[in-house]
Every structure is written in structure tokens, then in C-alpha cells.
């Protein structure tokens, strides 16, 4: 029975429960709403809730657990020889799953009967051909061992599905029955329903924790796997980044340092552009600009923040890069030959800087505005000019907040992907020349995971190790920055 159908049945049961529960509660009160503890809808909602929620929870757990159980049972059937031949247990299991799914599909399409599918003999029939006919392509012919495993897989899954349907529907009906019996005029249905809703709200709020947990788990598992294949010391202290393209062959050099250097260099250039511009813009907007000017210029600047990074990436690759080559390249305006190609640290850094201007300016604007007016009054009252007030009173007072804002901007720059993928180049290089092409941690995560290499190879797994490094660096910066900003705000609250 398909899961969708099962869900539909449970929902129908819930709807039935709603009507019944409501009716019964009203009946016990003799049709007089005033005698009920809660409004009739709450009795209905309570019955519906009890019918749906536990059943759905069961379904969810079942869906998570059944594949694991089946997988474990089936993978025990496979001999070590087969595993050695295929390369890894996972590869064999994915073949088994594909055969099993293919046979199910063939039965569903009517290409063969259920009995035929169960009694297939790989020596007499062309399993690969049959499956190809229903659109499931296999890499090789199906061995009898794989087919046996697939049949076992089908059998267990099929039994599991039937039991799943039975258990879920039973749970739903039981819930409905219990709640129906409870629906009495003195029953505090509203309190129960509200507790249910509150649980839902808490669950929604916990998704933030689950997301962080998911990020950490998905990064950590694969990173551990990576360090089993590649020495951690070589990764953290290696000065060369040179993955082999063959996918499985060794000989890759996967040192993070050149990538980290490129990341930090580009971020540095970006901050050199964004911080002065953003800070001065914020000062002008908050201290000098008329309301009218502010109401026009501020949103216009913030448009820069709303533009997707892919647009900046294209701008770097196709507009800024060639422009910089025209100036700094050979035969350029300056007559120097510093820049060989359009993709360079300077290109990516400059464009990223543009992107960060509104980020720095609106954060600084908030922070400057948080400096109490009495500070300004005190300074003006002593005969200070606006610029003296800004430089000697407001900025020192706002400094912690502004440092926090800059750290947040730095974390943004370090985590930025599309601009560096398109604008910074692909070669990992430890160079001081800002007009050289370099690459970054984020760009390499993309290239290692979108290439052709096998997900189990160190060339792909290194992306997770890069990811965890990136995550830790940006998280550290963020936590520190948010701490500073919060402390700063408390000072003036």
C-alpha cells in the first residue's frame, strides 16, 4: 500500500473523528453549547488530533526504521567475494535495491505477473533486459546472488509494507476510538488541543536545533571517513592542492592551506573595499543626510544587498575581470603586466566588496544610531563640529559594535561561493600578487562535489572536510561577533 494512500486514509479517519467527537460532545450536553467545557470545535479537533498524530508519528518512524532493518538483513546475505569484486558493500547494495525496485516496477507496469517476478531465474531469463524494458538500467548482468538478495529485499519490504499499513491504521482507529469515548461535556478538550498545538510549536522551534545537528552530523561522518583515507596532518598543513582527476587513483594532494590563503586574501580585499565605503556611507546617512536624501539613498544602496550572488559572479567574470585586465594586464592602460587573466583575487575581492557595502553600512548605521543622542548633544554643546563628534565621540563609543559588524561581514566574505567560483579562478596558489588567480574553500567544495568523482573517494570526501573547516571558521566569527554586538547593545539599553 503506498504511503500516500495510507496518509490519505489517516486523514480521512481524522476528519471522521472530528465530526464524531464534536457530535458526541454536543449530545452529552443535550445540544446546549453552554454546558460544554470547551467550544464544540475543540472536541472535534481533539478527536481528529488523537486519530492522526500518533498514527503519523508511527508511519514516520516505520519509514525510517524499515529500510535499515531490511538493509541489514539483506546485506548479510552477500558474500565477501562479491563485495570484493564490486569494490564496496554499498555498491552491491545499491545494485540489489535497483533490481528490487525494477522488479516492482515491472510488476506494476504489467510487464510480468507477481508470481513471475518472484520466481525469476537468472540463468534462464534476461533480468537485465527485462528491467531495461521498464526503464531501469543496470551496469552489468544480474548474478544469482544479487537476484536472491533482491528477492529477499522485495519480500521483506513487501511484508513490512503490509504490517506498516495495518499498524498505522490500527493506531489511527484506536486513537479515534479513545478520543471519541473521552468526548464528554465535562472533558477539557480545549486544554488538550492547546497542549497539542503547543507541542507542534515547540517542534517547529526545535527544527533550528535539528538543522544545526544535521549540518554537524553530515559534515562529521564524511570528514571522519575522509581522514581514514587521507592523513589529517597532510590536509591541515599541506601546501599543495592538486587532486587527481581519475577519481579512484591515489596521488591527490589535498592541502587546505592554499585554499585558506585564497579565501582570506579575497575576503581581505573585499573588506578593504567594503569597510571604508560602508562605514562612511553609514556615517553620512545617519549624521549628515536629510531625511529626504536618506529615504532615497538608503534603499538604493540596499538594492546591492538584494541582488543574488550569481549576478555578482557574472559581473566579476564578464565585466570587472576584463576591465581590470585592460588596466593591469599586459598592454594595459598602466603599461604593467601584473594580471594574466580576468579571474583573480582582485576581481573577486572587488566585486565581493561591492556586495558587502550595504551589509556593512546598514549594520553600522544601526550601531551608530544606537549611540544615545545625549552623547552628540554633549559634544555639540562643547562646540565640536559634526566630524569631530563622529570621529572622537560616536565612533569610539560605537567601536565594539562596528568591529562586530566587520566580523560578520568577514564571515559573509569567507562563506561566499558564487562570486569566487566565477571570479577568482580555479588554480590553488600561494601567492602574494592580488592579480593572480587563486581559489577558495567554497569554490573547491563546489568543484569536488559536482565533478564526476565517486562519493566514496577522498577527492569527493575532502569537500566535507573543507565544509567543516568553513563551518567552524564562520561559526566562530559569528558567535564572537554576535557576542560583541550584544554586549555593545546592552551598554546602551
Amino acid at each position: 500500500m503506498s504511503n500516500l494512500l495510507l496518509i490519505a486514509i489517516v486523514i480521512v479517519l481524522g476528519a471522521v473523528g472530528y465530526v464524531l467527537g464534536r457530535k458526541r460532545a454536543l449530545n452529552t450536553a443535550g445540544g446546549n453549547i453552554r454546558d460544554l467545557h470547551s467550544l464544540p470545535v475543540y472536541y472535534g479537533a481533539n478527536t481528529a488530533m488523537t486519530a492522526v498524530v500518533p498514527a503519523m508519528g508511527l508511519l514516520l518512524v516505520w519509514l525510517l526504521v524499515q529500510p535499515m532493518v531490511v538493509n541489514n538483513a539483506v546485506s548479510g546475505m552477500i558474500s565477501d567475494a562479491t563485495i570484493a569484486e564490486a569494490g564496496s558493500r554499498d555498491l552491491v547494495m545499491s545494485d540489489v535495491r535497483r533490481v528490487a525496485d525494477g522488479l516492482d516496477l515491472a510488476v506494476a507496469n504489467g510487464a510480468m505477473s507477481g508470481a513471475e517476478a518472484s520466481n525469476l531465474d537468472p540463468s534462464t531469463s534476461d533480468v537485465r533486459g527485462i528491467l531495461a524494458a521498464v526503464g531501469v538500467a543496470l551496469g552489468s548482468d544480474v548474478s544469482s546472488e544479487t537476484l536472491d538478495a533482491a528477492q529477499r529485499y522485495r519480500g521483506m519490504s513487501g511484508t513490512g509494507s503490509i504490517w506498516k499499513a495495518v499498524v498505522v491504521i490500527a493506531a489511527s482507529v484506536a486513537g479515534l476510538g479513545i478520543a471519541y469515548m473521552q468526548s464528554h461535556k465535562d472533558f477539557r478538550a480545549r486544554n488538550i488541543v492547546e497542549r497539542g498545538v503547543l507541542a507542534l510549536l515547540i517542534f517547529a522551534a526545535s527544527i533550528a536545533i535539528l538543522t544545526t545537528l544535521g549540518i554537524i552530523l553530515s559534515l562529521v561522518f564524511s570528514t571522519v571517513e575522509f581522514f581514514r583515507l587521507y592523513a589529517a596532518s597532510d590536509f591541515f598543513f599541506g601546501l599543495r592542492w592538486n587532486p587527481s582527476f581519475s577519481g579512484r587513483g591515489g596521488g591527490s594532494e589535498l592541502g587546505i592551506l592554499p585554499l585558506l590563503w585564497g579565501t582570506l586574501y579575497i575576503s581581505f580585499v573585499a573588506l578593504i573595499v567594503a569597510v571604508p565605503l560602508g562605514l562612511f556611507a553609514a556615517i553620512y546617512l545617519s549624521e549628515y543626510a536629510s531625511n529626504r536624501f536618506r529615504s532615497i539613498a538608503k534603499p538604493l544602496l540596499e538594492v546591492l544587498a538584494g541582488i543574488p550572488t550569481i549576478v555578482y559572479g557574472l559581473f566579476a567574470l564578464l565585466t570587472v575581470g576584463p576591465l581590470l585586465v585592460d588596466v593591469f594586464g599586459s598592454g594595459g592602460l598602466l603599461g604593467v603586466d601584473w594580471m594574466a587573466g580576468g579571474t583573480a583575487v582582485m576581481t573577486a575581492g572587488l566585486v565581493m566588496g561591492i556586495m558587502l557595502i550595504p551589509f556593512v553600512s546598514s549594520l553600522s548605521d544601526d550601531i551608530i544610531n544606537a549611540v544615545p543622542q545625549s552623547m552628540r548633544d554633549g559634544s555639540y554643546g562643547l562646540g565640536a563640529t559634526k566630524s569631530e563628534t563622529v570621529r572622537q565621540v560616536i565612533l569610539p563609543a560605537a567601536l565594539p559594535g562596528i568591529v562586530g559588524a566587520i566580523l560578520l561581514a568577514a564571515s559573509r566574505a569567507i562563506g561566499e561561493t558564487m562570486i569566487v567560483v566565477l571570479g577568482a579562478g580555479a588554480a590553488a596558489r600561494l601567492s602574494m600578487n592580488p592579480f593572480d588567480a587563486m581559489t577558495t574553500v567554497t569554490a573547491k567544495i563546489v568543484s569536488q562535489l559536482t565533478g564526476d568523482s565517486d562519493f566514496a573517494s577522498p577527492e569527493a570526501l575532502v569537500a566535507f572536510a573543507l565544509g567543516i573547516s568553513l563551518f567552524i571558521i564562520t561559526l566562530g566569527l559569528n558567535v564572537f561577533a554576535l557576542y560583541i554586538v550584544r554586549k555593545y547593545r546592552e551598554q546602551y539599553d
Binding site: 480545549r190 503547543l198 549540518i215 543574488p308 549576478v311 557574472l314 564571515s411 561566499e416 568553513l470
Partner: protein, 449 residues
């Protein structure tokens, strides 16, 4: 701050001095003031100049993508080539591949250029047409088999070089190193433009069409990936809005001051600043490798973007909930409503405009996001077919607008660059519309307490 203008004896110089004349020091200070002010204005000007040049680059490079060059040809659809039996059986007509149509087009080209003096050999004439011209012709014949046997006027897609020549992107100098087209072709094109058989028309195929292979930039469109983006946004809207609102209500209205609440708050503020690519890794590991959801499917993209957008939505929703004054809650509680009722009947409706505004802005952010999509396999070249229905719209491999643009930007062909810029125009139009809706919502429902 000490200064040469100070007199040797530290006399208070202001005493008894006229206010009407600026002393030297004040002049200097006012000059410094003017400079400082100019820096500020300069910073804003530079920022706005960047904005203008960015928009200029987009419009300048992107608008050509919205027109496309077509060659109008009279093609003789010979019955003996396309339908040998002559019974117009559609299945038999379908058996004729594009190779069967190529000679017809070649013949039509020779006829069309017969009275033009050109150095181009008859064999090379087809270079002015797109490689997909035959396929287009075949599609039209299959759609309308009655045309067979007649000579019909068709508008066929010109090759990207010809298109680029008409748009000024390709010059004669460029062609010296190009084996796809010769200068002689361009002379021919000049004549054909005068004759009116080669013309640029509005490019609906770019807006509605699918991506094309690397050798046919003239046929590539963004339509399919637009649909991919649309299905993703549906997922994001229907997951992120309810979850985000529920989480915000809990945190703002019910959460007690304890460790758990702190933990959630810290998580949310940190997730808001986690690089988007990390969400891509999460999507890859959790939804594809762990949950075995289909790779490259909009539903996976939608789930990943949901997790990425949630913090944004929660932060803005909490702000709008906070803006509802406590007196409203007290009033509801005062007439005997439960806490839950006061929130859902009074606070939430009042906060709704702010919540929607925040959601739209979160959606706009998700719509422009590229990096996580690349990791879950929603890369551009996948967007080559329209999904069959709603379910396949969610589950079949597709791309998204920004990923499609990235794919085009990677193909080192200026014709694809033009498409990438054009795609950006469409993407920005969507974002602009969403933001304008958000602004209007805010204007219309803005409430001052």
C-alpha cells in the same frame, strides 16, 4: 590637536572675541568638516555608481538575449523523402529522422540564395542555420502532416554566429579564427537582411524554452529552469511559512526563559549566518544520501532552501510579533480567552502583514540562491525537458534559474554569456516584483501603535 594658531600664553582666545569672524582654527576645522562630509557623500556616490554600473552591465549585455535571428525559407517538403508510402501515417512520418530533413533545408537554402552572388559554397550554406533547424522543421511537419508535398514558408533559427553578427557581438575580425562561419557568409547575410529573409524577432523561446546543448546557444532557453524555481518556491513557501511562524510564536509568546529556549535562539541566529554552501552539503547528505530522495529534484532543492530561509523568516516574524503591543494580549486574556486563543485570534492576524513581508523577502533570497543547488545536482544542463505534470515537477530532475545562469556562464561562448545576462534580467524582474509586493504590503498595512 595642538596647533600653531595657539598663542604662546594659553589665553582663552574666545573671550571678548567677535563671533562674526571665523578665526584661523575654526576655518581649518570647518574645512576638515567639509572634507569629512565629502568622504561620506563620496562613499555613497561610489556605492550608487557601482549599482548603476552593475545594472548597466546587466541591461546592456542582457537585452540582446530577448531577440533572436531567424531565416525565412521556402522549404519544399518532398513527399518521396518524408512519406514514401504517401498514406500520411503519422508513425511512418516519425520514422524519418532529422537527417531526412537536412537535404530539404540545404536545397531550400540553395534556392533562396540562387540570385545572390556569393562565395559561399552550396555545402557551406547550412552554417548560417542553427544545428537544430532540422529538428524544428521535423517537429512542425509531425504536428501538421498535411504540409507534406507542398512548399511551405518556414522561419528557421539562425546559427548563433549569424545571430551574434546581427547583434554586433560577432565581427568580421572574429571570424578569421572561427571555422563555424566565414566572412563570405556575412556578406550573404547582409543581402538577405536587405531582402527581409533574415530578421530579428522577439525571442519567446528564450523565456519559455529549455536549455540546449553546448553547441547550440541559439536554442537555449530558461523556461524549464524557471519552472524548476517555481516548484522549489512552492515547497519553500508551504514549509518555511508555517514552520517559521510556528517557531516564532513559540519563541515570542510561550517559551519560558530556560536553557532550551536559549539553545534555540543561539541556533537560529547562527544559522542565519551559516554560509549557504553549507546548507548545500546538508541537503546532499541528509536528503539525497540519507533519505534517498531523488537527486536534482526541485523538492530536494526546496527542502534545502527551506532550512536556509527559516532563520530569516523566524527573525522577521518575531519582530512583527514583538511589534504588537502587549495591551492587545491583555485585552484578549481579560475577556477570558486562553493564551493560545489570544495569540491566534488577535496577535497573529495583527502581525500577519509583517510576517508576509518577511516571508516574501526570504523567498526572494531563496530564489536567487545558487550554491546549495549545485551540490544537490540541480545544475543547468538538466533543464532540457518540461516536466510531465505536477508530481514530476517536484520529483523529476530539473534546474533553477540561477543554476541555469551559472551553467551558461561556465560555457565559454559569448553567445551563452548573452543568455546568462538575459537570464539575470528575468531573475531580477522576479525579485523586483516580489520586493515591490513586499513594500506595498508594508505600506498598506503598516500600523503605528
Amino acid at each position: 590637536m595642538t596647533d600653531a594658531t595657539v598663542t604662546p600664553t594659553p589665553a582663552p582666545r574666545t573671550k571678548g572675541k567677535s563671533l562674526m569672524s571665523e578665526d584661523a582654527r575654526t576655518k581649518k576645522r570647518n574645512a576638515a568638516e567639509k572634507r569629512f562630509r565629502a568622504y561620506g557623500l563620496g562613499a555613497i556616490t561610489v556605492g550608487l555608481l557601482f549599482l548603476v554600473s552593475l545594472l548597466w552591465a546587466i541591461v546592456q549585455n542582457g537585452t540582446p538575449a530577448f531577440t533572436q535571428t531567424f531565416v525565412t525559407l521556402d522549404v519544399a517538403l518532398l513527399e518521396e523523402k518524408l512519406d514514401k508510402t504517401g498514406n500520411r501515417d503519422i508513425d511512418e512520418i516519425k520514422k524519418v529522422s532529422t537527417f531526412g530533413y537536412n537535404p530539404l533545408i540545404a536545397e531550400a537554402l540553395v534556392t533562396a540564395t540562387a540570385d545572390i552572388e556569393t562565395e559561399v559554397t552550396d555545402k557551406d550554406l547550412k552554417k548560417i542555420l542553427s544545428a537544430s533547424a532540422a529538428a524544428l522543421l521535423r517537429d512542425q511537419v509531425i504536428a501538421n502532416p498535411d504540409l507534406i508535398g507542398e512548399t511551405v514558408e518556414f522561419r528557421l533559427l539562425a546559427s548563433s554566429r549569424v545571430d551574434g553578427y546581427l547583434k554586433g557581438r560577432v565581427t568580421r575580425e572574429d571570424l578569421a579564427r572561427d571555422k563555424n562561419l566565414d566572412a563570405a557568409h556575412l556578406d550573404l547575410i547582409d543581402v538577405m537582411v536587405e531582402q527581409g529573409s533574415v530578421e530579428r524577432v522577439f525571442n519567446w523561446d528564450f523565456i519559455l524554452g529549455a536549455d540546449a546543448s553546448e553547441s547550440r546557444p541559439e536554442a537555449a532557453g530558461i523556461g524549464v529552469s524557471m519552472l524548476g524555481s517555481f516548484f522549489m518556491m512552492l515547497v519553500v513557501l508551504f514549509l518555511a511559512l508555517p514552520i517559521g511562524v510556528a517557531a516564532s510564536i513559540y519563541l515570542e509568546e510561550f517559551a519560558p526563559q530556560n536553557r532550551f529556549t536559549d539553545l534555540i535562539e543561539v541556533n537560529i541566529s547562527n544559522l542565519a549566518a551559516v554560509p549557504s554552501i553549507v546548507f548545500g552539503i546538508l541537503g546532499l547528505a541528509a536528503f539525497i544520501q540519507f533519505a534517498h530522495l531523488p537527486q536534482s529534484a526541485p523538492i530536494v532543492g526546496g527542502l534545502t532552501l527551506t532550512l536556509m530561509t527559516l532563520p530569516t523568516i523566524v527573525i522577521s516574524t518575531r519582530a512583527s510579533l514583538k511589534a504588537v503591543p502587549p495591551s492587545i494580549r491583555d485585552a484578549a486574556l481579560g475577556v477570558g480567552a486562553s493564551k493560545m486563543q489570544s495569540v491566534f485570534h488577535h496577535v497573529l492576524p495583527l502581525a500577519m502583514p509583517g510576517i508576509l513581508t518577511g516571508t516574501i523577502i526570504g523567498l526572494a533570497q531563496a530564489l536567487g540562491e545558487t550554491a546549495p543547488l549545485l551540490l544537490i545536482g540541480m545544475v543547468g544542463f538538466i533543464a532540457s525537458n518540461y516536466p510531465d505534470g505536477v508530481a514530476s515537477g517536484f520529483l523529476d530532475p530539473n534546474s533553477a534559474m540561477p543554476a541555469q545562469i551559472y551553467e551558461w556562464a561556465k560555457r565559454a561562448d559569448p553567445a551563452f554569456y548573452e543568455r546568462a545576462w538575459g537570464g539575470i534580467i528575468i531573475l531580477l524582474l522576479f525579485l523586483m516584483t516580489m520586493n515591490i509586493i513586499a513594500i506595498l504590503l508594508r505600506r498598506k498595512f503598516e500600523r503605528r501603535w
